[in-house]
């Protein structure tokens, strides 16, 4: 076997054959075992694929009904500098929102799971509240609180941006909390903490070097959901006079255009998808899970 590992390879054919047989029987460590062809999984996937793609196809068909130039709507949208400006602004706000939200939610979810499980229903109730407060009520409430003394934040652009980010962090709470909580459920938080503590790590270190890396998938899911919310949101951005954001740009485009909004939603769909891909790529890191504890 050693002959395979060195470079340039001095390979004997028999070593190759032996290796090939062994590899077939026992996949190398760290790779997930590939299941056999699973028709059920393929069926489910194909059904899901159809369900998701057909409406997008329908939108595309509608957006290309412009005459004489079928792609007129797309050309108009892509030629508008405010389109990309809006996306960049919202993307930036989204990234900041993700970071703030993670910094609040991950320690909270971790703490609830570890130390105060009795308070869990209360915390979950609070995280689900953004669903029942209408966004227009939230934004007018924020204006009332932060648009008057002594907390007058809204008179400046920076202050308004801060309020916007904080509002979006609130909107992201349900998704971020649930994603992180599910991720924590899948790892053995208690053993990891105890092991790290026995090695002398403090809380910050535990969170940063033990918990965060093990929540990779959960954090990426939460980041995706938050980014999608921020890019698509427009009520709060509008009333906070953040007219550089993507949502307000869309609403100025006018509901009264017949084909352009369809083109815009497809283009922004594609671009947001690319952005998610970028996040996924950046967040990929090691594929193996770090198992601090042994088998339970």
């Amino acid at each position: 076997m050693a002959s395979i590992v060195s470079w340039p390879p001095t390979i004997s054919p028999w070593a190759v054959v032996r290796y090939w047989f062994r590899a077939r029987r026992q996949p190398p460590e760290g790779k997930e075992r590939r299941a056999r062809f699973n028709p059920f999984a393929w069926l489910v996937f194909i059904l899901g694929f159809l369900y998701f793609f057909l409406p997008l196809v329908g939108t595309f068909i509608h957006s290309t009904r412009t005459r004489p130039d079928n792609l007129l709507a797309y050309k108009q949208v892509l030629a508008d500098p405010k389109f990309f400006g809006g996306l960049v602004y919202s993307f930036t706000v989204g990234v900041i929102t993700i970071i703030v939200s993670l910094l609040i939610i991950v320690p909270t979810a971790y703490w609830v799971r570890l130390k105060v499980p009795r308070l869990r229903p209360l915390v979950e109730f609070v995280t689900l509240m953004p669903f029942v407060i209408p966004p227009v009520v939230l934004v007018f409430g924020l204006i009332r609180v932060y648009g008057s003394r002594p907390l007058l934040l809204l008179s400046s652009n920076t202050g308004s941006d801060i309020v916007l980010v904080c509002a979006y962090v609130i909107l992201s709470f349900p998704y971020m909390y649930r994603a992180v909580d599910t991720g924590l459920a899948a790892i053995d938080v208690r053993s990891m903490t105890e092991a790290a503590q026995s090695l002398g790590a403090g809380w910050v270190r535990i969170l940063w070097q033990v918990i965060f890396p093990n929540l990779r998938t959960a954090l990426i899911s939460g980041a995706f959901l938050t980014l999608a919310i921020v890019i698509g949101e427009y009520t709060i951005a509008n009333f906070l006079a953040r007219i550089d954001a993507f949502g307000p740009y869309l609403s100025l485009l006018g509901r009264n255009q017949p084909y352009q909004p369809a083109a815009v939603s497809l283009i922004s769909f594609a671009l947001t998808w690319l952005a998610m891909g970028a996040i996924a790529f950046l967040g990929r890191g090691a594929q193996t899970r770090v198992q601090v504890a042994g088998a339970r």
Binding site: R33, P55, P107, F125, V137, F224
Partner: protein
């Protein structure tokens, strides 16, 4: 002296009474609570206060009394029903979809594609989503046309995109992706060793899922379903575009009272929002009960 034991099983012999440690631990949640108060509860105060006001500005309980009149009770029932259906159905198929890419042996790139796509689709809602479905399954939608050419007219069989079922079908577009994204880490957490151990003991696939995997996943599935429930509960723009308000959903009626071109009764809208808060609280209570049962065996 008695050993202080707590529900999480951590029995700690300690000179300090258990209560003191509990209080200190609570402080760890302070940043979260402070942030929520600052940017959610404080702004929402005018909603709470407004629910006790009528149009003339006097304090009154009339709005809460009015919650029992007219179309409002039916609207609450309809909203709960739609949310439950989309939460359960969305949860089940979302779980299957996540399973198919993570554990189902599909090529790796499909998993990344589904995860990233789910990220975008999770917020594809409102007017664009409604229009997308109208262009696909509406009376002149391209799928409807294809089906008609194949000899089957769904509209003659009573299918309506603007019915409750149609709205639920459209809601799935953001419910499935939400389930997929949230349950993914839980599915990943199903260790290969468990599957192998079960197979070594002679379990079939069905038995593995029924006795090992699903019980492990149930707390996470329940948690995600409550999220889906809340997500659907607060949604209104999609249904509004599709049905024009003929499907009575609470967020739509709240919107009608609070915004809109005609003078209405915002106090009633606020009272309805408080009703939603109450329903959410009850749902969390039920969910916490279920959770406790599901997690009981994990506590050993």
């Amino acid at each position: 002296m008695a050993v202080a034991t707590r529900p999480d099983g951590q029995g700690v012999p300690s000179a300090l009474p258990a209560r003191r440690r509990f209080n200190l631990a609570w402080l760890g949640l302070l940043p979260f609570f402070l942030f929520s108060v600052a940017f959610m509860f404080l702004p929402a105060i005018y909603l709470v206060v407004g629910s006790f006001r009528n149009n003339d500005g006097d304090l009154t309980l009339q709005n809460y009394v009015d919650l029992q009149t007219g179309i409002i009770p039916g609207a609450f029932l309809t909203t709960i029903e739609v949310s439950l259906v989309t939460a359960v159905a969305g949860g089940i198929f979302g779980l299957l979809l996540a399973y198919s890419v993570i554990l189902g042996g599909l090529p790796r790139f499909l998993r990344t594609a589904l995860m990233t796509f789910s990220g975008v689709a999770s917020n594809f809602a409102g007017v664009p989503l409604a229009l997308a479905f109208i262009f696909t399954l509406g009376q002149l939608g391209f799928v409807t046309v294809i089906l008609k050419n194949l000899g089957f007219n769904p509209y003659e069989s009573g299918f309506r995109l603007t019915s409750k079922l149609g709205v639920e079908l459209v809601y799935m577009y953001f419910q499935f992706p939400l389930m997929v994204l949230i349950i993914a880490p839980a599915l990943e957490g199903l260790r290969r060793d468990w599957r192998e151990a079960a197979e070594n003991m002679g379990a079939s696939t069905y038995q593995y899922w029924r006795h090992v995997a699903l019980p492990i996943l149930t707390p996470s599935i329940l948690g995600t379903m409550i999220l889906l429930f809340g997500n659907s509960f607060g949604a209104q723009a999609t249904a509004f575009q599709l049905t024009g308000g003929t499907l009575n959903l609470v967020p739509i009626i709240i919107g009608a009272q609070i915004r809109g071109d005609v003078l209405h009764n915002p106090g009633l809208g606020f009272a309805m929002a408080m009703g939603m808060v109450a329903i959410m609280a009850v749902s969390i209570g039920l969910y916490a009960l279920l959770q406790r049962r599901a997690e009981r065996w994990l506590r050993s």
